[in-house]
């Protein structure tokens, strides 16, 4: 089955894949997802701790913050494997996105505390910055005689109920600042809605939530690339997870159609089914090739070529995973339409990840606008 093909001289990638496979033996992805969904929870804390123990949460964080100091290639291989195994805890947001912001924040005690907690799994650090249309939320930090307070609303917050700390992107006068807000702070409220893949997304409201000086992790975020870097890294992570999910859904469908007999033959022997499976395999191959291209551009041609490549990779992997899993459902027949069959969980997961941080249509438009910009 298609996978991200990278040279692996020291065996790091093989090791990462093996460690996910071993992990999936302990924590079955589909079973865990159903359990979390049944409980209405947004994060499985046991799994999260185990992921921390595996060293995955701080994979890309620099070593001076306690991380492994690895790069996006390692992250992509890891996330692809997690996607295959349907391990759906929100690593992309809670580790890659939050981690990139922390790595780029100003050195200080709070930053060190959060990084350490993030890496060890003891702190769930959830980023807060979007509206439901994917744009920037308006959360404003205002200073008066009583001190600085936050007000405003953000959406699409993952693991909000489980979060220990919110990493809030706020406006303060003309600049954008990054603020750490402990869960349970005064004036902070959270309301959750279920996601299609059995977790939740929350609206987080700040109503005069007090902020101490040491909670401000970074300033001047309009003028630098930190946020763009975080979005880019997260998109590539999501692309890899989508590629893994798509590839696994294809594999499951190939297996199913080889076994399922109708009219005296396995349905995989019917030409119409075969061609459909080949088309699914093709887009899976293209996803992996697009991700490899993005990783190479990031290494060789940072800037515009890399930005284009990441947009293309997320768009392709999202389109492919959604397309593959839809067809997979169909090829599983009535069985595919049941909740008991794991294939539906892959489809729902693909729908969520595909819509996260830009769906393919939006990303393609960004690509063209960027490419055609003088």
């Amino acid at each position: 089955m298609p996978e991200i093909i990278l040279e692996d001289p020291d065996g790091t990638f093989a090791m990462l894949r093996d460690s996910v496979a071993a992990f999936a033996q302990r924590f079955d992805g589909a079973k865990s997802l159903r359990a979390r969904r049944g409980a209405g929870r947004d994060l499985d804390r046991d799994i999260w701790s185990a992921m921390a123990e595996a060293g995955w949460l701080g994979l890309m964080l620099p070593e001076d913050l306690g991380g492994a100091g690895l790069g996006l290639s390692e992250q992509a291989i890891l996330s692809e494997a997690l996607g295959r195994a349907l391990i759906t805890e929100p690593l992309a947001q809670l580790s890659v996105f939050s981690g990139t912001l922390l790595a780029g924040a100003e050195p200080g005690a709070e930053r060190s505390r959060l990084a350490e907690g993030l890496i060890s799994g003891s702190l769930v650090v959830s980023p807060v910055w979007q509206t439901t249309d994917g744009g920037f939320a308006v959360v404003t930090a205002t200073a008066d005689v009583a001190g600085v307070t936050l007000s405003g609303t953000a959406d699409l917050v993952v693991a909000a109920a489980s979060a220990d700390v919110f990493l809030v992107l706020a406006r303060s006068k003309d600049e954008r600042v990054l603020i750490s807000v402990p869960a349970g702070s005064d004036g902070l409220s959270v309301s959750e809605r279920p996601t299609v893949d059995g977790a939740t997304l929350a609206q987080v409201r700040f109503d005069g939530c007090p902020v101490a000086a040491e909670q401000v992790l970074a300033r001047g975020l309009l003028g630098n690339d930190l946020l763009d870097d975080a979005i880019q890294a997260t998109r590539l992570t999501l692309a890899a997870e989508l590629a893994g999910a798509g590839s696994k859904a294809l594999e499951a469908t190939v297996d199913y159609t080889k076994e399922r007999v109708q009219f005296g033959k396995p349905i995989a022997s019917f030409q119409a089914i075969q061609h459909r499976l080949v088309d699914m395999w093709s887009v899976a191959e293209f996803s992996c090739a697009a991700i490899v291209n993005a990783l190479e551009r990031l290494a060789d041609e940072p800037g515009k070529p890399a930005a284009l490549a990441v947009l293309a990779a997320k768009a392709r992997a999202g389109d492919a995973a959604v397309d593959i899993t839809r067809k997979a459902i169909h090829l599983h027949g009535a069985m595919g339409f049941t909740d008991e069959c794991d294939i539906g969980l892959y489809m729902k997961r693909a729908v969520n990840l595909n819509a996260t941080l830009g769906n393919p249509a939006q990303l393609r438009l960004q690509f063209v606008a960027l490419e055609r910009a003088a």
Partner: protein, 387 residues
């Protein structure tokens, strides 16, 4: 009880008006445009009884059996208005399947016993056709019925039995002899009481996590011989026959119509009609739906004129199911990040059940014969292509 009238003698317009106005007045608003495709009997009982009292529960049964006795043309109007008013689908296996089967092939005793109990809601039926190894290839079913004195002993398993957990009777296709050459031979139709010892019903949740179908297990279930319909070993054609002109409704535009109205609602709320790229995609879907209406009318007219339909009618079901999917996919696309939510999307003017419809739209292309099977049938039956 029921109002008797020769509905077929009315003009289409008259009939449509009379039917529509009574239904609109009497179908409770809480049942209109339900999120569930198939509500269970208990949710609908009052509306069911109201229809039965009016004599309008069974559109095609002859009036002597308590139906409306509608011809195909009037039946289409019945279904169209039903959809237009957003009325819920009622548990219809008794009305649509068991009733016509017994009226055509049942004994007088069977008709006298079962038909009134369908109308009264006392018996709720389900349909035991598919098996784990016999889905698209229905003729290879294996649930066995063996004659034992004045009974049959049934052993086996059915699956995808819609709403079996809310039914008390099942129309069961069983195998009574094995002839591997012609698999359709040796199939027998039995009426089976689901409360019989040895019957186990296990609901299966669908992608929307609703239990609308079940597995039904039969372990040495004793079925009285008088529950046989037609003759032993000759049930296949009988089971096929009652499908009749109802096949056209699998391709009726109502599902994509509902989905498109939801897409429009969301698009209005999110400002998508100001985006020419959306409008171009919307236009394609809108025209597909419009043209499905024209194609539906082409077959409806044939049905009105000839009273029968060819295999080619399944083109409607293929087009309809694929359009339904395209519309629900577009709805998720314009939902952007909100496509991640399972619950309904607020619009400021009612909610849009984008994910509910998206998941539901997966079903129609699979059930009732997958679109692949339908295409293969069309290839042979309509284009005469060789095997």
């Amino acid at each position: 009880m029921a109002e008797q009238q020769d509905w077929n003698s009315l003009s289409d317009t008259e009939f449509r008006k009379i039917f529509r106005s009574w239904v609109d007045e009497n179908c409770p608003m809480r049942l209109r445009n339900m999120r569930k495709q198939r509500p269970v009997f208990d949710e609908l009982a009052d509306w069911y009884h109201a229809l039965a009292d009016k004599g309008w529960l069974s559109p095609v049964w002859p009036q002597e059996y308590g139906g409306m006795g509608l011809n195909a043309a009037k039946h289409i109007i019945y279904v169209e208005e039903w959809a237009r008013l957003g009325c819920p689908r009622i548990p219809d296996h008794g009305i649509g399947l068991v009733g016509p089967l017994l009226i055509e092939f049942g004994t007088e005793a069977q008709k006298a016993h079962y038909l009134p109990r369908i109308l009264s809601g006392e018996d709720v039926w389900c349909q035991g056709y598919s098996e784990p190894g016999a889905g698209s290839d229905l003729a290879s079913l294996r649930t066995a019925a063996v004659r034992d004195g004045d009974s049959f002993i049934v052993n086996g398993q059915k699956i995808w039995t819609t709403l079996a957990h809310c039914a008390n009777w099942i129309l069961l296709l069983t195998r009574t002899s094995r002839d591997e050459k012609v698999k359709q031979k040796g199939i027998t139709v039995l009426l089976v009481d689901l409360t019989s010892p040895g019957v186990t019903v296990r609901p299966i949740e669908n992608l929307r996590q609703e239990a609308d179908f079940c597995e039904v297990f039969f372990e040495n279930v004793r079925v009285p011989a008088e529950n046989l319909v037609g003759e032993v070993d000759k049930g296949w054609n009988l089971a096929k026959a009652v499908l009749g002109h109802e096949r056209i409704f699998l391709g009726a535009p109502s599902r994509p119509e509902v989905a498109l109205s939801r897409l429009e609602q969301l698009a209005e709320a999110r400002g998508a009609f100001a985006d020419p790229a959306f409008v171009a995609r919307y236009a394609r879907l809108r025209l597909d739906l419009y043209d499905l209406g024209s194609a539906f009318e082409r077959f409806a007219k044939q049905l009105r004129d000839d009273g029968t339909l060819g295999a080619d009618v399944s083109v409607l079901k293929i087009f309809c199911s694929e359009l339904y999917q395209k519309i629900t996919e577009e709805t998720l696309d314009i939902a952007g990040e909100e496509a991640r939510f399972l619950d309904d999307l607020p619009t400021g003017n009612g909610e849009v059940d984008a994910m509910n419809l998206y998941l539901d739209s997966r079903a129609l292309a699979i059930f009732g014969g997958s679109n692949e099977i339908q295409r293969t049938i069309l290839a042979k039956a309509v284009l005469g292509l060789p095997s």
